[in-house]
Point group: D2
Chain length 369, copies 4
């Protein structure tokens, strides 16, 4: 059984992750992890900080001579910003944040943890934490790749700009997305999205959007219909929804399917010329009955606009109970491209988990038997 | 820590559930459980079977003198249809189903479990199983009610008919939904929905739709931002997505929010006249940073059309590898109203879990301390 | 991942269990489950009740045409005593038990669950619950048997009578134990044990003892050294210690080994004539580094004497705070033979869990690939 | 719900731990963690390495201004030996260990993980890993201390030397144990134990032994009788058995109790002068029905002798299949005193887990309500 924990604050010394349950014998490509970390940091409309933090992973355990041993794999990503914060923390130069920012974890977190300072909340609630998850997902991807499974993503919408996705194969779309500053496979729509981001910046506002993640070559039968918490779609939904600012998810075009008659929605089965069972449509998004059905798994996620807007929101000082506006910390205008990379990581994780459950997980060799 | 398992086939003797971790001292209202089971069985466009199965729960353990003891609570719901099936099973009169039905678990399940008969798959994949979950959810609701938390739902869309939800309070909308054969709080839209269902029946087709579930008076701080798998929205997403035929979920109007600028999305905080922190909007759907924020929790779910359509889908006989059409078993035309009741149950479960985690769970008395 | 929940009170209508995660394709022998239930009910020195309850299992789900389907398997064991208790419960004829019995869960349970009546506690704390676990274990045994793994047990000590275990193979010892009324493979010691039990009865006292459970042909590498909670010995320790009245456990002769030098304890490895690695000793009890090492797994457990003694213990009435003696309910004099059968069930469970983790668990066929 | 993962190899750069689920508001004393790490490193009969590794913990997350925030707490303990090993690993100077050492994880681990080198196994199987657990346990102790719960331990037996524990209070015995090089509260027996260790060293042999851990002031009702895996004794058994080289465990004098009649074993209840319920004996070791009963929790553990003996064991070269003796790496002669400190840590962990389950765990303030 695969499991992981992450730790670390946004302005603390580092992010950490421990992954437990990886099979032995998996060659680990550290550069490929760093490449994923780099992908997470890209995207038109990111803040200055993305340039400070050129993330690099250190693998601190579980790998000997470049290959996993079956022992827990610990990952560390330094917060390069830490140098600027260390003194502030240690000399206690940081005033409490007593005005929670709407759209953030601040208010609920302060009440839950009985704090009169939002700082401990935002330090952990920050999406900086997802760097650890992307590193974990990069390892999951390497495990999946051993079984031919590949994962990619692109951005479908930023603000009100809805992309017209060209009718290409997923690998082609992924390649086009990599070439786009907003991870959108349509060059024209990429420009429109960048303009929308520029406009939002000028308006001291922020944007959200929609991205789509796909997994190809997934074996039939990951997940299970037999119990609610083993359904692959349920587990994917939790994993994607757990990404900061993601508030909606669908497997395939689910909200559109909801308005169509059954005859137009369900994917018929056919025999291919070489007598295998195939489908020519994938409105189910690759999952039926809570199980992968052999088609590409297609997950769409709705991200709310960045909560920190240049135009201030109304709030309340929790200590003195007066109306107040939160302190503005420079922030991204739009993080949908980054979120799509994080989405890939979380989907990779869920599939790796399900694969290990199906095949057993002592060693890569035994999984392949 | 609350947990449950369910068991039972659609045409087996019964459905069973065991709930472990309920606090002692909760008075259990069995009629209220039956009332929820009844609600699940309603809805315009249901099949004949709903009349056969007038579900009643038996509480087999964990309750003494009408009050929970802290021991596991076992629930049994008889399958009244069993009388008609017992002989067929026992005398082996049921031919294997070798043609998987598109949109169902059949194909993926047969491959996963290495079966040449879809029957064992569909017996468990059937939404009949949700009767057990509704009973479990009814108990969760009774626990939540002890803390003033209430849950309700209504249908927003059936097929292409999108309801115009009147600007009433949630309790009023719930009441109106109870009076509607399609659980839609707008009487005119209810009629339109029924017409759409009638039309689909005539066209030998089926319909899906969208429902919304709300929880009121949820304390601030259920769930947590500190780790991905503790986020309340992630857990709700999994629970709702785990309902048969649900393929999309959003917390609040998430897909709409994705297209709006941040200044129009995030819910400002204000001081009320009596100096408490309030909001006047709820676009976040009651959750920020993975925690309940004191606003109503609002969950919307997209249901695909019923997969069994009168107009046959194309498929393949898995045994002899010929194109074939699946056997048609009479089925519902639309089950969105029932799904909204199941959605209430699953939301109730997740909130009960989170409440017990927050307050500890040995006894109701201690939870309330 | 295998998991189970049980439910049911000692004097309620039934015991129930749901097992989730069994592979599909396992032929289920129901008579063999009943045989295990029967074994649990044997033993010299048991009370009258054992004759009332001739346990039979009903398999209510998860099995079609005699074979598991991958769906949850629900088991029901009727409490035949229920007929005698139903009226008492329903007409509220049972007075609260306000004097907790030393050695039982009564006092701690009343405080934990804030009850002024021990009855709800003892109803669930009773070892009657283990009938459900024995049924579960019987299924685990059937799964293990598919991989050649067998499990048996015998009694080593009752009260102060320590058996002299003859130097026979485990299967021979198991056979001898089945023929003994106290499950002791030495006929002479069996007689001494029965005499001790008779004597204890006359003295209005009770006896505990020690039993040993063994598993043969366990593949190397179940469990893992890589994380504390995956160690096979840790998991076995929990499973055996969870049996009512078990207070001590050792893997192999651990307490004796603790007093010996290392050169006399560790089991050397040798090459057999056909070039396989073998051992000629098994002081490790079949586990090294938290993993099965290919030798028989040998678990010894210490059971305290039955807590309900004819000679009354001193206690306190919790309601009126006076010294008092608990009501005496007729009880067993010694239950060590039954406990050894329960020990087999729990060991079988842990090994089945670990086997499914190692091999994956969708179907028996895939596990065997 | 509290949980943790550890990572790290014996000769890698560091050990790491992430603890998730700690309540907010707990002041963390880092020096007290280091003090526990120091205690783990003491003990007559330890190897040279204990002097190299003067362990210090770094707290990398989850604590702001000295107080927990509710976020995961990450701990790092440097392996000072790393400097000596880094080059060897990186330049691949370490030859594979192909001869598994009897009594270690080597053989089972190589088979499980399909390795022809024992090194990756022993790196993780080494008891060096317990430094991480001791740090975790030190934090658990600090949480427990907020509720008045204290934990200590002493050594009862080393090799064949059984200590005569003086009839003092536990705090007095703990104090005496701290003053002893073998953690034995009897000065005369401490000397005999040291002599036994010296003798074993001369004989190129090793010793095991027995230690006892106690927890005082534990509230009544941690754990539960209602389900097997919630029993406090089962969870303690797993936690203690998971310590390297521990093979036996008992709650109270369980193996002795197994030979006594019930009237001499169970702890009567009495009224104290101030009308509270008390006991004058504690043969149950503080647990009845799987729950803490208000008495001290007393856990005894049997440790096997150190597996690496100067006198070589017989083994087999797994690669060339010849009889061989393993390479001898200098090792401890006896580690029972250290194991007793680790036992404290694991007991503290289980009690902290159970306390958070009982009281809820968002903040210390809320736990105390």
């Amino acid at each position: 059984m695969l499991r992981f924990l992450t730790a670390g604050e946004s302005h603390g010394p580092c992010l950490l992750a421990i992954i437990e349950g990886l099979p032995a014998g998996l060659p680990l490509n550290v550069e490929a992890i760093d490449r994923e970390l780099w992908r997470r940091q890209q995207g038109y409309g990111r803040s200055h900080r993305m340039k400070i933090e050129q993330d690099r992973v250190e693998v601190l355990s579980g790998v000997i001579r470049g290959v996993t041993t079956g022992a827990p794999v610990a990952l560390r990503i330094e917060n390069r910003d830490w140098a600027n914060w260390k003194e502030k923390w240690e000399q206690n130069l940081l005033e409490p944040l007593t005005v929670p920012r709407p759209g953030h974890a601040d208010y609920a977190g302060m009440v839950k943890y009985r704090l009169l300072d939002a700082r401990p909340i935002l330090e952990r609630a920050s999406a900086r934490e997802t760097a650890a998850r992307v590193a974990i997902g990069a390892i999951a991807k390497q495990l999946l790749a051993q079984f031919g499974i590949t994962i990619g993503s692109y951005v479908c919408q930023i603000g009100s700009v809805v992309a017209n996705i060209p009718p290409h194969s997923y690998p082609e779309l992924w390649k086009a997305a990599e070439a786009s500053e907003v991870r959108c496979p349509s060059p024209e729509d990429s420009e429109r999205m960048k303009n929308a981001i520029d406009e939002a910046r000028r308006a001291r506002d922020t944007l959200g959007g929609i991205f789509e993640v796909q997994a190809l070559n997934v074996p039939i039968g990951l997940g299970s219909h037999v119990h609610w918490d083993r359904r692959l779609d349920a587990r994917i939904a939790a994993a994607i929804m757990s990404i900061q600012a993601i508030k909606g998810i669908e497997i395939g075009p689910a909200f559109e399917n909801a308005g169509l008659p059954g005859t137009q929605v369900h994917d018929d089965l056919y025999l291919s010329e070489n007598q295998t069972v195939i489908r020519t449509t994938n409105r189910a998004g690759g999952i039926e009955g809570g199980m992968s059905n052999g088609n590409p798994i297609v997950v769409r996620a709705a991200m709310k606009p960045i909560a920190t807007t240049g135009t201030p929101h109304q709030s309340v000082d929790i200590v003195n109970l007066h109306a107040a506006t939160p302190i503005y910390q420079r922030s991204d205008i739009c993080a949908v491209p980054a979120a799509s990379v994080i989405g890939e990581a979380m989907l990779a994780w869920v599939l790796a988990e399900a694969l290990v459950e199906k095949l057993g997980g002592d060693s890569l060799e035994e999984m392949r038997r």
